[in-house]
Symmetry: C2
Subunit: 299 residues, 2 copies
């Protein structure tokens, strides 16, 4: 199997009630890749600048990640500066410097164009579509999105929705996209816009999978030590797609297991700043946490 992710690579500065870190390795594609690489080799496509630290290149190289699509261009790496307070449910963005993301577009290397499984991390729908158009014969494509694109690029997003197998978004975004505050109705409305599968993330409250004839309700893993929620959604997506790629494809049964896998990977991610915790996660740890999670949710 072959799993591709296209998205951002960032230097994050993060403040939470449990500490503060400056210019740590982050970005949607990074968090996705660190998570999914616990299941299979991941093809990573993203832009970095001249300032990207060598030690972060090494961190990435230590995982099962193909870095042929890690493209260094003139300028500085994308920077995000954010803060979490209280229950840490939502990030407050303090500063964003697009840097190389403003001036360049990431190129998918020819050797990646045959990827079977594709994750289009949060990006403009136009760029997501441009990547998708290049792919030769993808088997299963999931995209992420955010409020910004629903606000300023809804037409492009609606076109993208007709081309992908699944959309992953949070409950606030699902309401914004559909105008529907009831999450169950919102998920069904998004399915009518195109994607066969819709996964709505609810942070500490879990996630919901909408399949053609089925809904699956999954709580979050009961994490007591949340240090930094940054990248939880992308680690979740990484666990979902990693599981699907490793286990030979998506259907409503395998996606239930994939959602559990995503939940567990997100739970590791938030136990440390940036990729500190998830980079050390072992297969045994994942298996063990999956088993205990299953006990916590089985009636």
């Amino acid at each position: 199997m072959s799993l591709l992710v296209v998205g951002s690579i960032a230097l994050d500065s993060v403040q939470t009630p449990f500490g503060a870190e400056k210019d740590i390795l982050g970005g949607s594609a990074t968090h996705f890749a660190f998570s999914a690489s616990s299941f299979c080799k991941v093809r990573l496509v993203g832009l970095i600048g001249k300032d990207f630290p060598d030690e972060y290149r090494k961190l990435i190289a230590e995982k099962d990640i193909d870095t042929a699509g890690l493209q260094e261009v003139d300028g500085n790496t994308f920077k995000w500066d954010g803060r979490y307070q209280g229950k840490m449910g939502e990030a407050e963005t303090l500063d964003v410097q697009l840097n190389v993301l403003q001036d360049f577009e990431p190129e998918v290397p020819d050797s990646f164009l045959d990827s079977e499984y594709v994750f289009l991390a949060n990006y403009s729908p136009e760029r997501q579509m441009a990547v998708l158009d290049k792919m030769k014969n993808p088997k299963f494509v999931i995209a992420d999105t955010m409020n910004l694109w629903i606000d300023i690029a809804k037409d492009g997003l609606l076109q993208l929705l007709k081309k992908i197998d699944g959309l992953i978004l949070n409950d606030g975004e699902s309401s914004l996209l559909t105008g529907e505050t009831n999450t169950i109705r919102a998920g069904r409305l998004i399915q009518e816009m195109g994607p066969k599968y819709v996964i709505i993330k609810k942070g500490e409250h879990g996630s919901i999978l909408f399949s053609p004839d089925d809904i699956f309700l999954l709580p979050a893993y009961p994490t007591e030590e949340v240090k930094d929620p940054t990248g939880a959604g992308d680690s979740f997506a990484g666990g979902v797609m990693g599981y699907i790629a490793k286990n030979g494809g998506a259907n409503q049964e395998s996606l239930r297991k994939a959602l559990m896998s995503g939940t567990i990977m997100a739970s590791f991610n938030i136990e440390g700043f940036g990729v500190n915790r998830i980079k050390e996660t072992t297969a045994d740890e994942i298996e063990s946490r999956l088993k205990s999670f299953e006990k916590l949710i089985t009636p």
Copy 2:
């Protein structure tokens, strides 16, 4: 088995995006009793005023509810006037008239003092304790509470917690009681205050059961037609206690099934204003919804 509830009986005026109703039958004990009476006979204790409509007496009498503890006293029935907006997650109280609740205390009839299962609906901890002290030999006692009592009667509440088997409260209340924003840690801290079991309700996000060596995470039933959330928590408690009373006692296994039962009863409750929907719920409907719910949550 014998199941007792002591709590409020109210005339509610409710506005939601789906309509408005004036002076409909409500109150914590009412919603609990209508829910639990689908499982076993319920002994209802609560105060009503001279203005309590005969048709509401008839409504109550149509269910499997023993009304020997329905006490009419001088004055008007407790009135609550509230509104839900948007996602209807929280009620906005527009007016409260305590009326008979201010001047009288409900008496538990002698014939109810041998009740095995007891639900102390939301009331002042002092009054909850007074009721509990009178009971002869209760097997399993659960209490509800609210922010108000945590704010103004915390000492009394802490004393009560040492005497009961379970506390049921929502996630905001669990944070207020413990000073802990992480719901999992909050639940464990409340267990340390006394009750063997803690059930934290999260509205549309489900509930969490804390047992001595176990946690059970349960999503909410995916209701698409929420007309009036009033009484959802008490219907939930009614389904929990009704299941426990009918099935011979509480342990961490039976409580998992009881939580599912509570979830289903709450889902019926919110599909209509007041008790309109839940009063018509049949055993077949409950069984059928429980089965489909189990499919939606089983990994």
